[in-house]
Amino acid sequence: MVRSPAFSFSERCAVATPDASAFDISYLDILSSRDTSIHRLDPRAKLLTTLAFIVVVVSFNKYAVAGLVPFVIYPVVVITLGDLPLGYLLRKVLLAAPFAFFIGVFNPFFDREILVRLGPLAVSGGCLSFVSIMIRFFLTVTAALLLISTTGLNGVCLALEKLGAPRAFVVQLLFLYRYLFVLGDEATRLTRARSLRSFEGRGTGIRVFGSLVGQLLLRTLDRARRIHLAMLCRGFDGEVRLLRPLKFTGMDLAYTLGWSTLFVLMRLYDIPQRLGTITMELLR
């Protein structure tokens, strides 16, 4: 995984094998090809909604904790309607958590000013902002995972292209994804072959790595040449044309606008605060 060692202990232990990473991508890909009301939406609608969600969540001030909570409704609805596996998604979020955790955990040390008193408990600004960071993390990472598991990379690429991303970028992203599995398989075979012939830490050093990856690279370059040849044989002239008509229906518009409006409203009006105040007055 591409994580600096200091911020990914658990992740490295859990997901450091080619098989596991390949599994992740494969599984998310399968999830994205299911057929539910969410999956059927236009990818642009889902992309824009996700971005709106993230921007609004991130725009809270750094001490916001309760105000962020209502935003959990978005993942709840999408996971339910999209028939997505909650446990799997939660696990992925947890695995990704260390980075934000290790940056945020410093906050209580540096910001000790007491901002809030909960009965006998005095909560410092640092603690609040740390909790806020973790909640934000949970929300934003979930949103990204939801996007990919209901849309798939092909859908996201299509959305990007229709929304104006440069064609060269989108095309090579599509090719990257297409050959990810093929090359992932080759990498798995290479590591397996290596592990079968290495013992007690000999044979897994950097020199072997150099030639393993070098081999993979040479094979990759050959493959790229053959693919180019195959493209030429089918009339390739430099431009990759995509025939995928997308229709933005009323449903898609309603989805995007509806959620965005809700996000903005939840941002402006601190619902938990009001609910809590009302409740406590009722209880008195």
Partner: protein
Amino acid sequence: MHMADALISPAVGGAMWAATAGLTIYSARKLKQEIDDHKVPLMGVLGAFVFAAQMINFTIPATGSSGHLGGGMILSILLGPHAAFLVMASILTVQALFFADGGLLALGCNIFNLGFFPCFVVYPLIYKKIIGAKPTQSRIFAGAMVSAVLGLQMGAFGVVLETICSGVTELPFGTFVLLMQPIHLAIGIVEGLATALVVIFVWKARPEIVEMAGPLEAVPSRSLRKVGLGFLVLAVTTGGALSWFASTHPDGLEWSMFRTSGKEALEPPEHGVHSSLAEIQKKTAFLPDYDFRKEGARTESRAKPRREAAESAPAEQWPAVSAGTSVAGIVGAGITMAVAGLIGFGLKRRQQNKS
């Protein structure tokens, strides 16, 4: 090293996205000018290769940890800076989407830190200079090592700047730098070694590949470069300045009002459009209100002294910084969670009944 959304503000995220988008469009345009259409499949496949290569680890002796290959340098060597940048951008996109490795809003930052610095700064200005016109094994080795280390240092520093400017974390600049740079120095050495070995392997087998990105003409022409650079500088300084401005003068008007009238703002009329607009304006803190005054107390001070004096009063006086959380807030949060859960349940039941 990949930044998460939880740690940035919309301003920083947006500014870096603007910079990255500009670079992407620029790179794509530059690629179009190249008649070499064999790069089309090559870029994608090499991106997949970098991914696959990153799945292969090697053990680092005496530490028991493992290392892997970076991407930026190898891609730049094989494809040239523009194509390499696009490929790095897509690799990071896939990582953000599939592995939660970096957020979507922060993707602009990550692409900039891990793509711009290796491809557009280190590769033309450092690697090529070290390699010279006729590469030798030792030159390639030195070039790869130095490039990887420097590229990562710049990237790490970028992370520090972007995080600090966002104001979500309390880590002071100095501490953060001391945390990030040495770690990434170690990572850079390891990655540089890995890159060097792979490049040398390939170079020995097929030297023309390593030398194929061409002579220094690959660096963009003067005028275009100026435009690109100018746009970049503008985007970054705008974002940074906005964040900065937000910190020192969260609302210039409010601040000056406070000084003059002792009140935060003119009280708007209770009802009507004006009040609702005022409500919206008060609550739409799109630029977060972090306080450099706390930092000023410990590290190099950026907060202006007279501001500190004016704001010696604690947070309660500054409405935008109200914690937003109190007992009522917690209670309300609990209720909200319960409601959300119920909604989810209800939807699930409806779904099951339908099918």
